[in-house]
């Protein structure tokens, strides 16, 4: 290209170096005034004081694969508490030689979840895939057929148990919650009263007390000799509890719908079931995606409360390791590890819900 102006003139036309690029950004965002400048400096100082020591603790001085005595000699993090006990943290009491089975079951679950993320895959075949997948997972966990040694559910623990409680808890609680919400709006007084009673009673007690009741009081009420599996009891408590909360959120969505929608549905002759199925619920449930997801996320985290009724979920297997004198005192490392696992679960849920919201959005 031919030059129209001399270089010196071009140079003088450019904005000063201090107001563009990185420096400019820093000036306009971090040092635009005395107050912000002070805040920036304080923050930088804090970061300087905290990040390098934490980094040094976690990565430089840390011990990754050694026994506990090596850990006690070092100033850094003792990640070997995780590497040395990894299989117990993740699989609990599942027989050591057969731990590939829960691993396979979990892989299958993750695979199905991942595949189901895409709404284009939501077809009948996916439903069948889930049914087959769940049966296969159950088979791997329980055993007893195809030459797999049977493993009773009392030995399920660790991550598979956490996933079992959350995945089944959430998928069963959601439809139950929707039904309860519809019941609460029903014109039949008995049905309405029943739903209101259920929702208010369950919401009126903490999950811990429900779990306690299911594990301590409930067995005393059963006829002698009849015992119901501990996991099943906890699972039921989680489902009942979460459903009550989802019901209220969904009710919010239903009340947010304009009356016109109901009238429009009636005017084209749709019955109650079709009105709900085709007109109301798709819109109402879409509105309440964000609060629903926060309930699901908190329910996912709440599954860790089963610790108090001695189900060996992820948290309980970790706690048990910490009471071994060999590893006592390295709780920080272990809890960080557990926190990362929970964070991954929660973050992917909220991430996915945002994606879903965007896809379902009808606004332009």
């Amino acid at each position: 290209m031919e030059k129209t102006y001399p270089d010196a003139y071009m140079e003088s036309l450019k904005p000063p170096v201090t107001s563009i690029g990185v420096i400019g950004w820093i000036r306009f965002n971090l040092f635009n005034g005395a107050f912000n400048s002070i805040l920036t400096i304080i923050t930088l100082l804090l970061l300087w004081k905290t990040v390098p020591p934490v980094f040094k603790w976690a990565f430089i001085d840390s011990v990754w694969f050694a026994d506990s005595s090596a850990c006690r000699g070092s100033d850094g993090a003792c990640w070997s508490i995780i590497s040395a006990n990894f299989r117990f943290i993740i699989f609990g009491f599942f027989p050591y030689e057969s731990q590939w089975r829960p691993l396979l079951a979990m892989t299958l679950l993750f695979g199905l979840l991942f595949y189901s993320k895409d709404r284009n895959h939501w077809k009948k075949s996916l439903g069948y895939a889930w049914i087959i997948g769940l049966i296969a997972m159950g088979m791997f966990m329980r055993g007893g057929i195809f030459g797999l040694a049977p493993v009773e559910s009392a030995k399920w623990g660790g991550l598979p148990l956490t996933l079992l409680l959350s995945v089944f808890g959430l998928t069963a609680a959601y439809p139950l919650g929707v039904i309860l919400a519809l019941g609460r709006q029903s014109k039949l007084p008995a049905l309405k009263l029943l739903c209101v009673l259920y929702i208010e009673l369950i919401r009126g007690v903490p999950l811990i007390s429900l779990l306690f009741m299911s594990s301590v009081i409930f067995p005393l009420l059963l006829p002698e000799g009849v015992t119901i599996n501990n996991i099943l009891r906890a699972q039921t408590a989680i489902i009942l509890f979460t459903a009550a909360y989802i019901a209220e959120v969904v009710r919010g969505g239903l009340q947010g719908m304009s009356l016109g929608q109901y009238e429009a549905a009636e005017s084209i002759g749709l019955n109650y079931y079709l009105t709900m199925r085709l007109i109301i619920l798709p819109q109402a449930l879409k509105i309440v995606i964000p609060p629903t997801v926060s309930i699901l996320i908190s329910a996912f985290k709440d599954t860790s409360l089963v610790v108090i009724i001695s189900l060996w979920d992820l948290l309980k297997t970790s706690k048990s390791i910490l009471s071994n004198p060999e590893w006592m005192g390295f709780s920080r490392e272990l809890y960080i590890f557990i926190a990362i696992l929970y964070f991954l679960g929660c973050f992917s849920m909220s991430n996915y819900s945002r994606k879903l919201e965007k896809e379902l959005s009808t606004e332009n």
Partner: protein, 339 residues
Amino acid sequence: MKFSKVSIAMMAALVIFAGAAMAGETLDAVKARGHLIAGVNGEVFGFSMPNEKGVWNGLDVDTARAIAAALFGDADKVKYTALTGVQRLPALQSKEIDVLCRNTTQTLTRETINGLNFARVNFYDGQGFLVPKKLGVKSAKELGGATVCVLPGTTTEMNAADFFRSNGMEWKPVVIEQTSELNKAFFAGRCDCLTSDASQLAAHRTVAPNPDDYVLLPEIISKEPLAPVVRHGDDQWYDIVNFTVMALIEAEELDVTSKNVDEMLNSKDPKIMRLLGTTGGMGKALGLDDKWAYNIIKQVGNYGEIFERHVGKNTKLGLARGLNDLWTRGGLMYAAPFR
């Protein structure tokens, strides 16, 4: 709703079945099931805890294994149910478990109001104090005004309160829910002393940055006889559990170990012959095989072996026998005669 005749009959049968609690019922149920269900703790090192492969270990676990060996001749026929402090008694009452081997202290109210029977004690524990040496305290009586790290709930907190009140001393409890966090607080200097069951204090001391800087005070301020527990109302089952613990003790007294038990079968000592079932009748009297005690000792060992394996000198706990030594050596372990 309509009940069919069959379902009404079934419910009636259930009610009748539920009403019938008779001696021998537990033994029959366990035998029919093919394995023992034992309630354990799961978080107490040396007593009941899974190892990194998920295999249960400990003194309480071995007590349960001994019962299984007596019943089935196979110590592995036990399923463990980990229970919290709140769950343990209801679990036993509701027959979820057959026996509770979960470091449970024998008390009057548990025997009476809770309707439980405690078998022979398998570990005598007691509450003690751990202090830093630099505190210069020689006796728990000098702890007036101290801040004390203690676990909440259980009897530990109440025992400490009783101790300080009865000695007219002030104290400031620092209550922390979890053992490992409690330790951290203590070793970081948050409190002047740490109180817990003496058996556990030994383990806590080993994880100190420098164990030699800490010392156990001589006072034991509470009695904690820990024993396996069964329900009221099934005397035969109680006898089996009771004599299983005593067989462990008797075997140690007679120097019968898991290693020499086969040679001991040829022993001419009438006590050993009765214990091992070479001259018979003892097992039959309990409703078991005459080889019941032989199976226990062969597969699990005698009390001394169990003690040394899980809590003794060469373990992380490093406990001395103390009260848990045989009566012949100044301890409290004493078995009724096997005759």
